[in-house]
């Protein structure tokens, strides 16, 4: 079986920082990316999603080389920290936008959206305007949208989506994601500032520093390592 994600010798320069990434993620994995601010965690997700264009290197998703494809043709869904929803639309429409936008009006799309909202614990929210939601609810709607895309885009890129939530709520959301991962066979990449989050949900964890993946291992193993000065400094910070 091919890997969900293979990143090879991917190079990108932002301002003065030269970055270089190699990474392989198996299908169904839940990988956390941790590291200090400016390490390149979000940039890596942006490169995978196609929001940034690398100088060289390749990205394969589900065995397909997507290096030259526009964002819309890559089988990924991103959940950002903020601005995931169109505030002037209702929740149902926001979720249905995850399907091919052309088909958002048909009955199947409506059913899928209602189901996805139920899955994230927002049953009956289809007609609620997005702007009336709380922070946690907004992220749930964004996840619901990722769910309706899951069949075509089973790779979920989470860019610190729960940073604005409290610890209990954060754990609840991580459990939700993990449950959905099992049920729908998703592969999840989570950028996080919190080793706790990684410990709670991700089997595997990568530590990034200065535009490189310094180490990648089982989460518990990685977080226990003491031979990486960058990592100890980072963890000590927290």
């Amino acid at each position: 079986m091919t890997a969900a994600l293979e990143v090879q010798d991917l190079r990108f320069t932002f301002e003065t920082m030269a970055m270089r990434f190699d990474l392989t993620v198996a299908r169904g994995d839940f990988l956390a990316l941790i590291g200090p601010s400016g390490a390149g965690k979000s940039t890596l997700l942006n490169l995978i999603a196609g929001f940034e264009t690398p100088q060289s290197g390749s990205i394969r998703l589900l065995g397909q080389d997507v290096s030259n494809l526009p964002p819309a043709r890559r089988p990924v869904t991103t959940v950002f920290q903020d601005h995931n929803l169109f505030d002037h639309l209702d929740c149902g429409t926001n979720v249905r936008l995850g399907l091919l936008p052309a088909s958002i009006k048909n009955r199947a799309a409506h059913t899928a959206a209602i189901e996805a909202l139920e899955q994230v614990g927002l049953a009956g929210f289809e007609t609620r305007p997005a702007r009336d939601l709380s922070g946690g609810q907004r992220q749930r709607v964004a996840i619901a949208r990722a769910l309706v895309r899951a069949r075509i885009c089973p790779l979920l890129l989470l860019d610190e989506p729960f940073a604005a939530l409290g610890p209990a709520q954060r754990r609840e959301m991580l459990d939700l994601i993990d449950g959905l991962r099992h049920r729908y066979g998703l592969t999840v990449l989570l950028v996080s500032h919190h080793p706790d989050e990684a410990r709670h949900a991700a089997q595997r964890c990568a530590f990034l520093d200065a535009g490189q993946i310094v180490a990648l291992d089982e989460t518990a193993t990685l977080l226990a390592r003491t031979d990486l000065p960058g990592l100890t400094a980072y963890l000590g910070d927290v």
């Binding site: 819309a72 169109f86 936008p101």
Partner: protein, 526 residues
Amino acid sequence: MPALACALILLAALGAGIGPVLALGMGSERGVGASLSALWGDAYLRQVILFTLGQAALSTLLAVVGAVPVARALARRQAFLGRGLLLHLLAVPLLLPALVGVLALVTLYGQKGWIAGIVRALGGEMPPLYGLGGILLAHTFFNLPLAARLLLRALETVPGESWRLSAQLGFSPGHVWRFIDRPVILRALPAIAALVFLLCAGSFTIVLALGGGPGATTLEVALYEALRLDFDPTRAALLALLQTGLCLTIGALVLRFTPPTVPLSLGPGRWATRPDVALLRTRLTDGATILLAALFVGLPIVGIIVAGLRGPMARVLLDPDLWVALANSLKLIGFTTPLTLLLAGGLLLGARRLPERARQRLAGLGILPLALPPIVIGTGWFILFRPLVLAPWVAIALTAALTALMALPYALRALAPAVIEAAARHDRLCRALGVTGWQRFRLIDFPSLRRPLATATALTAALSLGDLGAVALFGATETAALPALLFSRMGSYRFDEAAVIALFFLLVGLGLFWGIEKGFGYDRRA
């Protein structure tokens, strides 16, 4: 409470306009009642009101509908050769005195105009410029660029994440329009439309010059007649109140239909290319739209430049009058700009913590000066300040204050969206840290509002350079600014000199705009 203070100052200034005129009328033999019933029974006046509102509505529709594709094309095309120049070009019609704009349009569309030449060469006949069509053309020329600039500003507040999301979800240009551009535009449009509508409703010179006859007249003409020719202050004050009432009604309707503002953005993302940029179809339509807009706005301006270059350049440029007038204009700008910005800043920054509706109403007050005829305000102030009026500094102060008042709506439009956004971003933090007043302005608001403040400053300065009318009575000969110089040349056969002054005017205006936006709006992060 700075917002309340600013609102009170504004209302007092406007009240000081109408009040004395009305009071003067009370003293005359013809009472308010008689004047009212005369107004009520005046069939011609009803026709004038219908025409005023009708042409303003049509002009607004044309300007706004035309501005939408221009703003979208400019939002999509963030980098092309001449984009900066085009954006500055879009600011030019706003600062042109009405008659200079009319003459520029005549150069292009008139009987002897460039287009008539082409049409005739092709064997056709040029349709006449005069009539409703001419008025609409001129109003569109003056207001479409303004609307396009303001819409562009609104489109640029869409957060980067929205563009990334729409790229990932595979939005077509149609989807981008439906889910992003349209809602943003619809939210910004009512306020812009209201601004354009009031400008067109108060239009005087354009309507008379291109209207083709007294059938095409606005309420301003009736006002002028009542105040100047008939010296009937009661009628003038009532007409002014009528005009204000009509405009307020329309303003209230606009407010009603404005969707509540949702703070859209917490700063655009780093990667914010729109997904509809790369398509051949949008490339072609954007190219055509931008070209058309550049021609529509640019050709008449080229007309001004050509006419100016043909004029007696040396004679005008060596004339000290020109430089005295320029100095007076700059002095006026020096007074007006801080005043307008203070008022606008007070109304917006001071009102941040009020509930949404109250905030909207307060900002809505700022558009009032456009609803009130400047000729009446000028007269009212003159009556109020007449014991002082011979002193030149009083004339300057009144002129500056009136100009500041007239520029306020534009400054507010340029600032409001950014202030709301910045408030959403920083308000809680500032309250938590106890950063208030001047400290907050200096450390927080000024840096984050730098660009919109620069736009507001440039707009106010350019407008103060232009002719906002209504200062005629103050009679400050020694302090005559550039527009007065231009008109005095036109009033004494010296149209060739006027053409050179118009060109000079254009260059000064562009220079001001460019200098202020570049110098003061320079973004260190960029």
